[in-house]
């Protein structure tokens, strides 16, 4: 048998060959997006709605009482900030979120990890949690007001009840994803159940736990505003209710944007935390 290097003529396409047409980048499934395509899309995502809002509010088609201009909204935001109301409302709301989210995490993460690793615990808790989590949290508000009054406790309870079951089940699924062979390998290296829990299941679950927390932090933000709409003397939700009474739609818009920005910031912080805490799981 003779082996020779291919010559240049060998690699010419046969006659009648037409190359396959390539799909436009950006429309290929799960394909890496080139930066020059990505950035225009990212910027449009924010600029286009802003332009639409500006044009609609400036066109005179909609009464400015219903739809304030971006400029009026910005001015309202600045006024709220200068009066110190914005800061005190933000502090009140963020404090509620922090306490509610903290209690939720302290309950759901250990319970979820236990459910995901121990089938007995899962069988014991999953049916009830699966049932309760479909009960809408805001429907509990009257009950919490009867039980806990109109103060902070009722609001915190709403935040906890609305997220704790989801985060528990999500954490359980994360823990259940630890490969069985990884656990078995650890046993053959001399580890016992406690060591496997601490040195295998916990670190393997860390990025997934942070993802679940990120999702449920967003849910906590939704619920805290609901709680403040119902009964509160402070907070961003309360500010919206007050603004409604005086038809200050520009204030409502300003507060909504502030809520969105805080949410986006915490979301990004959690993504960053995930990448720092578990660089091995970076996509």
């Amino acid at each position: 048998m003779e082996v020779s290097a291919p010559s240049a003529t060998d690699s010419l396409p046969p006659p009648g060959y037409t190359p396959v047409r390539r799909r436009r980048s950006g429309l290929k499934l799960r394909e890496e997006l080139p930066q020059r395509v990505r950035w225009p899309l990212v910027i449009s995502s924010i600029v286009l709605p802003l332009v639409a809002w500006t044009m609609l509010s400036a066109s005179g088609l909609v009464n400015p009482l219903y739809l304030p201009t971006p400029a009026a909204t910005f001015a309202a935001g600045v006024k709220l900030a200068q009066g110190g109301l914005l800061l005190s409302d933000m502090t009140a709301t963020i404090t509620r979120v922090a306490i509610g989210f903290g209690i939720m995490a302290v309950i759901s993460i250990p319970l979820g990890l236990a459910m995901g690793s121990l089938p007995g615990i899962r069988a014991l808790f999953e049916p009830m949690i699966g049932l309760i989590r479909y009960m809408p949290a805001p429907a509990f508000i009257p009950l919490f007001i009867i039980w806990l009054g109109l103060g902070e406790a009722a609001k915190i309870a709403l935040l906890v009840i609305g997220t704790v079951f989801f985060n528990t089940l999500m954490s359980a699924d994360v823990a259940a994803l630890v490969p069985k062979t990884l656990i078995n390998a650890s046993y053959t290296l001399g580890a016992n159940r406690r060591v496997v829990m601490r040195k295998v299941i916990l670190p393997h679950s860390l990025p997934g736990l942070l993802d679940a927390m990120r999702v449920n932090l967003a849910a906590t933000w939704n619920l805290v505003v609901v709680a403040e709409l119902v009964a509160a003397q402070s907070g961003l939700g309360y500010r919206i209710v007050r603004a409604q009474r005086f038809l200050q739609t520009d204030d409502i818009f300003a507060v909504l944007i502030v809520i969105g920005l805080i949410g986006l910031t915490t979301d990004m912080a959690f993504r960053l935390l995930r990448n720092v805490a578990a660089p091995w799981a970076r996509p």
């Binding site: 490969p179 062979t181 990884l182 078995n184 390998a185 650890s186 046993y187 053959t188 290296l189 001399g190 580890a191 060591v195 040195k199 295998v200 670190p203 393997h204 860390l206 578990a278 091995w280 799981a281």
Partner: protein
């Protein structure tokens, strides 16, 4: 001190005695192992070959202590196995490394569990990374290195606790042909250097003949040992695989397996 009768009689490093394993199946119980007996002598490298479903991996898992036998016992140095432990290292086909730990961190795991001092761990890790040719990759994460290097890391991790027996479950099954033959050479050199007793499951007869001193051939339904071969070759290296004696030996084992498959096929 214990009194030893006939102390000249050596004790196998690993021994399976009258091992039975039943699994509940859809139509009655399935007998994964029926009266299986094997012995692995100190320093030996023994292979288990057989069609899928012959119970060879089950046997390995029982030896590792990850599964319980329905009946019978596995002895290590004459003592019965009651559960998993660091005296029997296990290497899986899927490398099963800790993805958040570096190569060095993976090798250190068993030593940390043992409660060794940090200095001792670092020294032992360095020693085994050296033997495995992994020193350059000590700080790399598993996802940053090739499949062959990952499997080396898994072997290093299993050897670092200095087990009495190393159990290998189709360790090179997921590797491409070139990497696979490089890893076979590598395993032979590790075996020569450390003299660790090894029991390996493989579905490649050629691999079994190349690597091991003895081969147990197993057959399914019920899983049992049907033959034992002593492999006569002294000089183990990849040039061996082209020798006529090697090829005819492989064919002999292969024929037996094929016969068994046709028997099962006509049932």
């Amino acid at each position: 001190m214990t009194l030893e009768f006939g102390s000249a009689r050596p004790i196998p490093k690993l021994e399976a005695v009258a091992l039975f394993k039943d699994f509940p199946g859809t139509s009655g119980t399935v007998s994964a192992l029926e009266d299986v007996a094997i012995r692995v002598w100190p320093g030996e490298l023994v292979c288990l070959v057989g069609a899928s479903g012959c119970g060879k991996s089950t046997l390995l898992n029982i030896a590792a202590g990850l599964e319980d036998a329905t009946d019978g016992v596995v002895l290590v140095d004459g003592y019965p196995v009651t559960g998993p432990g660091a005296d029997r290292g296990l290497v899986f086909q899927s490398y099963s490394l800790y993805p958040w730990r570096t190569v060095a961190g993976n090798v250190a795991f068993g030593l940390e569990v043992k409660g060794l001092k940090d200095d001792d761990i670092a020294e032992r890790v360095r020693h085994y990374l050296g033997i495995m040719g992994l020193a350059k990759f000590a700080g790399a994460l598993p996802k940053q290195i090739s499949g062959g290097m990952q499997q080396r890391t898994a072997i290093a991790r299993a050897l670092a606790t200095e087990p009495k027996v190393l159990l290998l479950d189709e360790p090179f099954g997921a590797l491409d042909a070139q990497t696979r033959s490089a890893m076979q050479e590598f395993l032979l050199s590790v075996h020569r250097e450390l003299g660790t007793t090894m029991l390996m499951v493989t579905h490649s007869v050629e691999e079994a003949v190349l690597l091991s001193q003895r081969i147990y051939v197993m057959a399914p339904n019920p899983g049992r040992v049907i033959a034992e071969f002593k492999v006569p070759f002294q000089d183990r290296s990849h040039s061996l695989v082209h020798e006529p004696e090697f090829l005819s030996f492989v064919r002999q084992v292969d024929d037996l397996l094929r016969q068994q498959a046709s028997v099962v096929g006509t049932q």
